[in-house]
């Protein structure tokens, strides 16, 4: 159902000791769309993600998700509502196996994690679903290996699988292709396309090829403020955006 907003921020602002990292942001993300968030380094993209997911509390403004005001809630309260995120820097449990990662994510909404009196083998309840997800991202053959043994591109794929394990309404991906070679980038694009079917996605990426291939809608952030917004072709041609990008150092 494209059209109705799933996520809305109003005058969202985050100050770090007087420095406005995110400033008066009104962001609307329609249900079922893939939304790109771009902007030079330090524009406030990650900070915005942290505000949406509760890792940071806004200085002012509101965040509404699925008709609910979630401003100021903690990450562990927001995640169960249906927002899953990935981190800009690969963020895994390095010593755990791939299957364990997915079982942990799948167990989260069931409350099984509270059971201290039962055997950990009960986590195998989620084995089939875990293997399905690993299959989808092409890592099924590595299910029993620790995350630390994966190549970088595989780690990013695992992160996608973990996010999908939460069966989110909204998927937030912070630079899913950062640091990847061209092959991995194309694989990730295909993967995100496949996984995002029927979901709402907001992603940050510096790679315009990624943005162009995935995004229905693009929001450009600069110095914490929205500079431009619209479909990719329109935003790409925008004079202000071109100046912002040429005037800033970026990878």
């Amino acid at each position: 159902m494209t059209g109705t907003p799933l996520l809305e921020t109003r005058a969202l602002t985050k100050e770090f000791r007087g420095f406005r990292a995110v400033s008066d942001v009104d962001l609307t993300v329609a249900q079922g769309t893939v939304h790109a968030l771009v902007g030079p380094n330090g524009a406030g993209k990650t900070t915005l993600f942290n505000l949406l997911t509760g890792f940071l509390t806004p200085t002012s403004g509101t965040v509404t998700f699925d008709g609910q005001d979630i401003t100021g809630r903690a990450p562990e309260q927001i995640a169960p509502l249906g927002i899953a995120r990935s981190f800009q820097i690969t963020s895994l449990f390095e010593a755990m196996t791939l299957r364990e990662h997915l079982e942990l994510a799948l167990a989260s909404p069931t409350g099984m994690g509270k059971q201290w009196w039962r055997s950990v083998t009960r986590m195998a309840t989620f084995k089939d679903r875990a293997m399905d997800l690993l299959e989808q991202v092409g890592l099924a053959d590595r299910a029993g290996a620790p995350a630390s043994s994966l190549a970088y591109g595989q780690k990013r794929a695992l992160e996608l699988a973990i996010a999908m394990a939460l069966d989110p309404k909204l998927l937030l991906l912070d630079e899913p292709t950062a640091g990847m070679g061209i092959e991995d980038v194309d694989r990730t694009i295909a993967l995100v396309k496949q996984l995002s079917a029927g979901r709402t996605v907001v992603f940050v990426d510096h790679n315009m090829h990624v943005v162009g291939s995935l995004a229905d809608q693009v929001t450009v952030l600069q110095s914490g403020q929205i500079l431009a917004e619209g479909p990719y072709e329109q935003v790409r041609a925008d004079e202000r955006v071109i100046t912002a990008y040429l005037g800033a150092t970026h990878e």
Partner: protein
């Protein structure tokens, strides 16, 4: 590129055990361990054997936090000593069988651990250690002031050791050992269960990457508080048995040096190994006993030096190093079998 991350204690953990869950060597080791447990009072003076088990469980309780949750508590004397006093008071005034008194002490430890945990788990690393230390010092101060209840500097003396109608006097230490050992065993089993449960899996997630765990919907603080309370209960169980064994609870049990000693025992045994605590306690307690009986004055100096030596030589403690050696051996053999 900035990322909001939560700081944690950076401990370099030993590799996990290479033995699969059903490896026969595991059962063999378990049997061997139980045999040692049964035979220990034949080899060494029973009260010393009891001390080893008490300190072993105490260290395991610390490892549950340090090795499996990533929290360095420097105030665990509060739970060990708090329970020692509480157990002693219950046994003295209510005349209940001592296992009941010990359970009472452990529950008391958990009750005080809840607010302490609630107030300290927001801090991480050295700050967490400092907050827990501060609370333990507070309890020490209170115990010192409340002379009518605790006996102040004289401690709580002559704690009775009645076991369902039988009075186990000092000469019965041998028999007392087996009852005490059974209680410690229950504590060890609980610790093992917790570590190898879904809850334990979440704890390791919290330890390794708290931000990730939160993004998955796990309430990291609540998990830490629960781990803290469970750990305090185990420390309390150990402290209670210790007090009954000595028929004495003193301020020493609440002192910061006790908190320090148990961390030392844990590190010596191997952080994140669980069983290492028992080995560390075996080394430290027998050594202290040997040095004390030889009339040597500088016990602290010797144990301190040995600690430094072991930590320098075996970075992962005794158990952790043993596990690493076994891993290398098994991997080597597998490789050779393949070639």
């Amino acid at each position: 590129m900035s990322e909001q991350m939560t700081a944690k204690v950076d401990v370099d953990l030993a590799q996990p055990s290479i033995l699969s869950r059903r490896n026969p060597l595991r059962y063999l080791m378990l049997l061997g361990g139980l045999a040692v447990l049964v035979l220990l009072p034949y080899w060494i003076y029973p009260p010393v054997a009891m001390d080893i088990l008490c300190w072993g469980l105490f260290a395991i309780s610390v490892d549950l936090l340090l090795g499996f949750t990533g929290l360095l508590s420097f105030g665990h004397a509060a739970f060990w000593g708090g329970s020692a006093y509480c157990t002693g008071l219950i046994a003295t005034h209510w005349g209940v069988p001592f296992p009941v008194a010990v359970v009472g002490g452990a529950v008391f430890a958990m009750l005080i651990a809840w607010p302490i945990g609630y107030l300290s788990v927001r801090r991480t690393g050295i700050y967490f250690a400092m907050v827990t230390l501060a609370f333990a010092q507070m309890l020490y101060f209170i115990a010192n002031q409340a002379r009518d209840l605790t006996g102040g500097e004289n401690g709580l003396q002559g704690i009775p050791r009645s076991f369902f109608g039988i009075e186990l006097v000092e000469e019965d230490s041998f028999y007392f050992y087996y009852v005490g050992a059974a209680m410690i065993l229950v504590g060890i089993f609980i610790a093992w269960r917790v570590v190898n449960s879904p809850f334990g899996r979440v704890l390791t997630a919290v330890r390794d990457n708290p931000a990730r765990a939160r993004a998955l919907g796990y309430d990291v603080e609540r998990f830490k508080i629960k781990a803290f309370v469970i750990s305090a209960g185990l420390a309390g169980l150990a402290g209670g048995v210790f007090a009954i064994s000595h028929q004495f609870a003193s301020l020493q049990e609440l002192m910061w040096t006790t908190s320090g000693k148990v961390v030392l025992v844990t590190v010596l045994g191997g952080i994140g190994t669980l069983w290492g605590g028992l080995v560390g306690a075996g080394v430290v307690v027998t050594l202290e006993d040997f040095l004390a009986s030889s009339g040597f004055e500088g016990i602290g100096l010797i144990t301190g030096s040995i600690f430094v030596l072991i930590v320098l030589l075996f970075r992962h403690g005794i158990w952790g190093t043993g596990r690493n050696v076994l891993r290398r051996y098994v991997l080597d053999r597998r490789k050779r079998a393949r070639d």
